[in-house]
């Protein structure tokens, strides 16, 4: 009866998360639909002027992706808390912060990655110049895991609270400001022909910092949440 290695535990957790996501794959489509609806509304609201749309497209896409991630983030730990699986996770002979990290990355892969996959299509609708697309994708690939890690802390904090998507948005906004600034800033800089590497590197640095620290904050928040 030896305790499984941390790697084996992470694999078991990943398998569970991906199986669950696959069983609820209908739900995974909803954020995509939401993102498509929001981006198609902009041309209707502003007029189909290609130059105007191209100018705002980077920012609009970033904000849309952020908003589309919110509902899934809000319920990230709520189910685990309500059915008792969170207690089982906390009592397991495994490093909790590592399990939390794996959990968040699995969440990112199932909830945010599909949004990045449709992002080029949305960029096309909003007339983003094609040569800026790689910068947009790089910005999204760095910004979305960062948002998932920050959102996970907040999701853990609100798991035992009254259900409220607005509360999560209120808490996430100050944390998301730098992420949105650097990600949209990189796209804007690339569009203006300015150097865009610096903001991307800042995003990368923030992501590394969040990868190292957020799981611990999230684990602490989960321990508070299970007291309910």
């Amino acid at each position: 009866m030896s305790t499984p290695s941390a790697g084996a535990a992470c694999r078991a957790l990943l398998r569970r998360e991906f199986t669950l996501a696959w069983r609820r794959r209908g739900e995974m489509l909803l954020p995509l639909l939401y993102a498509v609806i929001v981006t198609t509304l902009f041309p209707f609201a502003l007029g189909p002027d290609a130059a105007l749309l191209a100018r705002i497209s980077g920012g609009v896409l970033l904000v849309t992706v952020l908003l589309a991630m919110l509902p899934a983030l809000e319920s990230m730990f709520r189910g685990d808390l309500e059915d008792g699986s969170l207690e089982q996770l906390l009592l397991a002979p495994q490093p909790l912060a590592l399990l939390v990290l794996v959990r968040v990355l699995a969440h990112w892969a199932t909830a945010a990655l599909p949004l990045i996959v449709v992002a080029p299509l949305l960029a096309l609708l909003l007339k983003l110049p094609a040569d800026v697309l790689p910068v947009l994708l790089a910005a999204l690939l760095l910004a979305t895991p960062l948002l998932a890690l920050l959102g996970a802390i907040l999701s853990a904090l609100t798991a035992g609270a009254r259900r409220s998507a607005i509360l999560l948005a209120l808490m996430l906004l100050p944390l998301a400001v730098p992420v949105v600034i650097f990600a949209a800033g990189a796209v804007a800089a690339a569009q203006a022909g300015l150097p865009y590497l610096a903001p991307l590197l800042w995003l990368g640095a923030a992501l590394v910092l969040a990868l190292a620290l957020a799981p611990f904050a999230c684990a602490a928040a989960l321990r508070i949440a299970v007291e309910a």
Binding site: T158, V177, L194, A217, A220, I224, A228
Partner: protein, 252 residues
């Protein structure tokens, strides 16, 4: 238990009844001296201080705006220190103080934003501009509101306080990043920022009322937080003997 790590005087003051009496005795003095200093400071700022050669009399709003801006950050720092103590030692008093710092800090932040906007009207010709300082202040307001919102969304008072304390600590890591990113964003999108407040620009006749106002707002902050903490303590300690005796006595 873990409380024994604290020095003796902290342990003593951390006891709710002792703190309640201590805070009750201190508060009138803090409040009175704050009001006196504020009266002198306002007189000095609005009447005695010289008119600015560039901005005329409109600059005089700094005697409210600047102390409040300092206080908004100071309140956040106080909240974070109390929050850290609440997380590490689980001291009930620290939880209460951290949570009572938030509304007072939010109020100072709001006053900063409003006075900044009033000041912006004659200076920039607009009520709101996305200047780095004002934007950071707005984000700070949202941080305060998030802490207050989370605290009120959780039923159990002590669990709510610890969850909101953790959020406050996440926020303090975030705050310098926000400020830095907003400054960068400002240079990217606007080119130059308007900067009124170099300390070197301030004439001595303007400086002393400003410092007096800063002192007054600090004292007011402490008076307000102490008072709120007394009420907060009564709320969480309602079942305890000392709280009951106190309420019975005051009812008589």
């Amino acid at each position: 238990m873990s409380r024994s790590y604290l020095p003796h005087w902290m342990h003593l003051l951390g006891s709710p009844p002792t703190f309640y009496r201590f805070a009750g005795a201190l508060r009138p003095w803090l409040l009175a001296s704050s009001l006196v200093l504020a009266a002198v400071g306002i007189y000095g700022g609005l009447v005695l201080a010289p008119t600015d050669y560039q901005q005329g009399d409109a600059y005089r709003i700094i005697f409210i705006h600047v102390p409040c801006a300092w206080m908004s950050l100071f309140a956040y720092a106080c909240m974070a220190v109390a929050a850290l103590a609440a997380m590490v030692w689980r001291v009930k008093l620290a939880e209460v103080i951290a949570m009572e710092c938030a509304p007072v800090g939010a109020a100072f932040t709001l006053v900063t934003l409003i006075t900044g906007s009033l000041w912006g009207r004659p200076m920039w010709g607009t009520w709101w501009t996305w200047d780095a300082r004002l934007t950071s202040e707005l984000v700070l307001l949202f941080l305060f509101l998030g802490v207050i919102g989370l605290f009120n969304a959780i039923e159990d008072r002590r669990r709510a306080a610890r969850a909101a304390s953790l959020l406050a600590l996440v926020g303090i890591v975030n705050l310098p990043i926000v400020h830095y990113s907003v400054v960068w964003w400002n240079t990217l999108h606007q080119g130059s920022t308007v900067n009124f407040l170099g300390p070197s620009k301030i004439a001595p006749g303007m400086l002393w009322p400003l410092l007096l106002m800063a002192l007054a707002t600090h004292l007011y902050f402490f008076a307000s937080v102490l008072n709120r903490a007394r009420v907060g303590l009564l709320e969480v300690e309602g079942g305890k003997e000392w709280a009951r005796t106190l309420v019975m006595e005051s009812a008589r």
